[in-house]
């Protein structure tokens, strides 16, 4: 059996003890019986310190060096040392799937955690949004690490680190849907540009009798329209990028004046962002699914009577809500259970929705028994957004006491805003859209015809955090080298944030403002 011993190089043996190996075989059997479909799982037993270190590297012991991982490590170590939080396991989306377990877990914990791991692993393998991810990421990450380490040796730690800082500042500016949609045509294999120009421009010609032609379709009007359309077409082909580009990293890789090693590092950061994106896209589902799996396997199969208390203690900790914070484990688990119940009893579809009789609805049971089948289907085809959009019901929100909260300027704190279903759903979906981060795209790579870069924040009612936005803009400027601008809205006013490398500026932007009007006026 392959192990990561060579990668971790711990002074102790990280493979499972004979006792735990027997537990693993048992749990794996239950997982298959339950219908899970997973890559081979390799468990490694680690001390807290090593587990914290690996967690700081996002699960990859061979990741490239960067101080931010050291910072994450300090944070994890501190919360662990103070007894505030403990990592039970860490699962890596890879084939084979690596799962790190905390050595100090007791036997019941290890059982539960293994069942949980098989849930995650099944999700990684089957969920559609993970389909594009590299299943040999362990090797790929090691490769990235080696490349960056080589650059560090060649160009110096400070230089590479400064560049990495900038890349990591914009690492989330990717186009998460691009892996499923073809955003741009394949580059043509032959250049038909010449013929494209000759394509006639369609003009609006009304049907009429020939003797009325000069009056209904006057020649000069048609000419003018043709001219206008030609200009439009030309303008369009000159747009750069043709469509607003959400993959800012890709755009910078292609067009920013970077050295080859810098382009390579930017590419590495981008690749890892795409690899990690589905995990953020399916946080609620993935954790909900794994929790569903472990609770089912444990309570129906694996649990010994003597372990019930310990199991309950651990499980309730997993699904506890801490104050008003949303616990993805809990929401996911409860939604999966709700779906299973609804499809078992047939509480879906037109007939159920349109039923006005509350009493009848309450006792609705068609005895369909489709629940298990349905949740397996859901875990394959949905991500968090579609999951919430499709399966969150008003009954569910009432039963589980969901509410929305919003920032109150008056109170200087968050206050409960509403318990209305629509509001709750809206907020949830908003916070899941683009991972609850603002959407930024490149609209013009030759802004003002001066090679400047124009970005646009797709404003949706929430302002950016200005200090961070300006600092991030400065980092993009350092990559682009020419001035960089960002269209956004600040306190209700359209605003242009700019950074020219030395300083930043903030100008209000008229609604009608377009680059042409900014052209130097011919006075004098």
């Amino acid at each position: 059996m392959p192990t990561t011993m060579n990668l971790l190089n711990t002074p102790y043996d990280t493979s499972l003890t004979p006792e735990l190996r027997a537990v693993q075989r048992e749990i794996e059997g239950y997982a298959r019986e339950f219908g899970l479909d997973f890559f081979e799982v390799i468990f490694e037993l680690l001390d807290a310190d090593d587990l914290n270190a690996i967690a700081a590297y996002g699960g990859f012991p061979t990741r490239y060096p960067h101080w931010s991982f050291g910072m994450a490590y300090e944070e994890l170590k501190k919360t662990y040392d103070y007894g505030l939080a403990k990592i039970y396991e860490l699962v890596i989306n890879n084939d084979p799937c690596y799962a790190y377990l905390m050595r100090s877990n007791n036997l019941v914990d290890q059982k539960l955690v293994m069942a949980h791991v098989y849930g995650h692993c099944d999700f990684f393998k089957n969920n559609a949004f993970f389909a594009h991810t590299n299943r040999k990421m362990m090797e790929e990450m090691a490769n990235h690490g080696a490349r960056i380490r080589r650059y560090v040796e060649k160009y110096g730690e400070d230089e590479v680190e400064a560049f990495l800082d900038k890349c990591k500042s914009i690492e989330d500016l990717i186009d998460i849907h691009s892996v499923a949609i073809r955003r741009r045509d394949e580059p043509p294999r032959f250049d038909f540009e010449a013929t494209k120009d000759e394509e006639p421009i369609p003009v609006t010609r009304f049907k009429t009798k020939s003797y009325l032609e000069p009056y209904i379709n006057p020649e000069e009007l048609l000419k003018a329209e043709e001219e206008r359309k030609r200009k439009e077409r030309e303008a369009k082909s000159k747009n750069f990028p043709e469509q607003p580009e959400r993959d800012v990293l890709l755009f910078l890789m292609q067009y920013a004046p970077l050295k080859p090693w810098q382009r390579d590092i930017l590419g590495i950061v981008r690749e890892e962002s795409y690899y990690f994106a589905p995990q953020a896209q399916t946080k609620i589902m993935n954790e909900g699914w794994a929790t569903y799996v472990h609770s089912t396997i444990m309570t129906k199969r694996a649990l010994h009577p003597s372990e019930v208390i310990d199991y309950c203690d651990h499980h309730s900790g997993t699904v506890a809500s801490h104050g008003p914070r949303l616990n993805p484990y809990k929401l996911g688990l409860e939604l999966f259970r709700d779906i299973e119940f609804r499809w078992n009893t047939g509480r879906f579809g037109k007939e159920y929705e349109e039923c006005d009789d509350l009493e009848k609805k309450r006792n609705w049971d068609l005895g369909l028994g489709l629940g298990r089948q349905k949740i397996f289907e859901v875990r394959r085809t949905h991500n968090d957004i579609t999951f919430i959009d499709e399966f969150l019901t008003p009954e569910f929100c009432v039963e589980h006491k969901y509410f929305t909260f919003a920032w109150s300027e008056q109170a200087g704190t968050f206050v409960i805003e509403s318990r209305e279903f629509q509001k709750i759903k809206q907020r949830l979906l908003f916070n899941l859209t683009n991972f609850g981060k603002p959407i930024i795209c490149v609209v013009d790579g030759n802004y003002r015809n001066r090679g400047e870069l124009l970005l646009r924040h797709e404003y949706n009612g929430v302002d950016l955090r200005l200090d961070h936005a300006i600092a991030t803009l400065a980092n993009i400027q350092a990559l682009w080298t020419r001035p960089v601008h960002l269209q956004t809205v600040v306190e209700g006013k359209p605003t242009l944030l700019s950074h020219d490398g030395a300083e930043h500026s903030m100008k209000p932007l008229g609604e009608s403002d377009d680059p042409r009007r900014n052209a130097p006026a011919k006075t004098r």
Binding site: N9, Y73, S169, H322, T413
Partner: protein, 376 residues
């Protein structure tokens, strides 16, 4: 670096490297902003026994994020509409915009590290503790093994290993019933060595004028200065004691809290504090055993006929007993500030007397340098 590092597991090395790098960046940021931290005095309340926590938001990697306004999320539980959710929950891995809270990054520094930064930034010479005042203490280290000793020091692992070996060799070990009984010859005990450790001890005597002319702002300046002086001196000695003396027309020894929070309306007699300090040194901190530091802060207002007395106490007694005597004069709207000129006369005579004028907070850094720049 060292031989031992090579033997450390690769991953520990890696995370250690990134961690060191992070700490280096932290130290760099603090160093760059040291004057800001000093003038604002924001670190004082953040001090634990050996650690200071320092808020460092600027170390985060900036990214495009939503601001707090218009933000919100979904929660679960009881509560009326309009009810406040209470203090933000510090969630380390909170998705932005997902939940209330989020936290300001705070890093912890040991006082030693902070002192190092202060020393580097202000180019302070390290203090040379007076040699004859070093006390040698002995400390025990468990570094050996012996055959006899008290049961509480029995080395279990070694004892049982030996017992197991003996039993296997003698054939009394039963693999089906693995029972190991150590006998007297098996028993191993930890033994200790006494290591003499040089230990230099120091006492810092802070004196402050609390008469009516000292305002809160002046006291804050004193507080900030005292914090940094304390940090620096503590970095050089094993055990540092602090004595606080307040005075108006009479002096008394108080605790730290009282020191900063007392306000008297009486007149000022500086000599009273010097006499008390002298007494305390003689009674409790004989200079032959202690490195004595004395700092006096005042607005320079004193009863005219008390000045000769003050100078006499300093010249004939106090200055012979202390490593360093620092006089810091904070400028107050009421004080005349004349004491500075009188005490300055003594600086030619005594090398261990430092006089510093602190008109406002911006002058604190320079003043700290004045006091600690002597390397005494």
């Amino acid at each position: 670096m060292s031989f031992f590092h090579l033997r450390e597991p690769l991953m520990v090395q890696r995370i250690q490297r990134d961690y060191e790098r992070f700490r280096k960046i932290v130290r760099g940021k603090i160093k760059n902003n040291l004057s800001k931290y000093i003038t604002r005095g924001e670190l004082i309340g953040k001090r634990g026994n050996d650690l200071v926590s320092i808020p460092l938001p600027q170390i985060e990697i900036p990214q495009f994020r939503y601001g707090v306004k218009g933000r919100g999320g979904v929660g679960q539980g009881e509560g009326e509409v309009g009810q406040a959710l209470g203090p933000p929950q510090g969630g380390a891995n909170s998705q932005a915009g997902d939940q209330p809270g989020g936290h300001i990054l705070e890093v912890e520094l040991t006082l030693e590290e902070l002192a190092d930064i202060l020393g580097e930034e202000l180019a302070l010479p390290r203090i040379q503790p007076k040699g004859r005042k070093n006390i040698y203490t002995t400390r025990e280290r468990y570094s050996g093994i012996r055959q006899s000793g008290p049961e509480s020091l029995r080395h279990f692992k070694r004892t049982f290993k030996r017992a197991l070996k003996r039993q296997i060799i003698s054939g009394t070990y039963d693999f089906d019933k693995p029972l190991i009984v150590p006998i007297r010859e098996d028993k191993q005990y930890r033994s200790w060595k006494e290591i003499p450790l040089p230990q230099s001890v120091a006492v810092i005597i802070f004196m402050m004028d609390v008469s009516g002319s000292m305002t809160d702002e002046q006291k804050e300046i004193v507080r900030i200065e005292a914090f940094w002086i304390d940090t620096w001196i503590r970095a050089h000695y094993k055990g540092v004691q602090r004595i606080y003396i307040i005075h108006d027309a009479v002096a008394q020894e108080v605790d730290e809290h009282t020191f900063y929070h007392t306000r008297e309306s009486g007149g000022t007699k500086i000599s009273s504090a010097y006499e008390l300090a002298d007494q305390i040194i003689d009674q409790r901190f004989p200079p032959s055993d202690w490195n004595v530091y004395a700092f006096h802060f005042s607005d320079g207002d004193n009863w005219g006929d008390d000045i000769p007395h003050c100078l006499d106490v300093l010249r004939s007694r106090l200055l012979h007993k202390v490593n360093l005597f620092g006089y810091g004069q904070v400028e107050s709207p009421y004080g005349s500030g004349e004491f500075l000129h009188h005490i300055e006369e003594l600086t030619n005579e005594f090398d261990n007397l430092v006089v510093s004028h602190i008109p406002n907070r911006d002058a604190i850094i320079r003043s700290i340098k004045d006091f600690l720049g002597k390397g005494r």
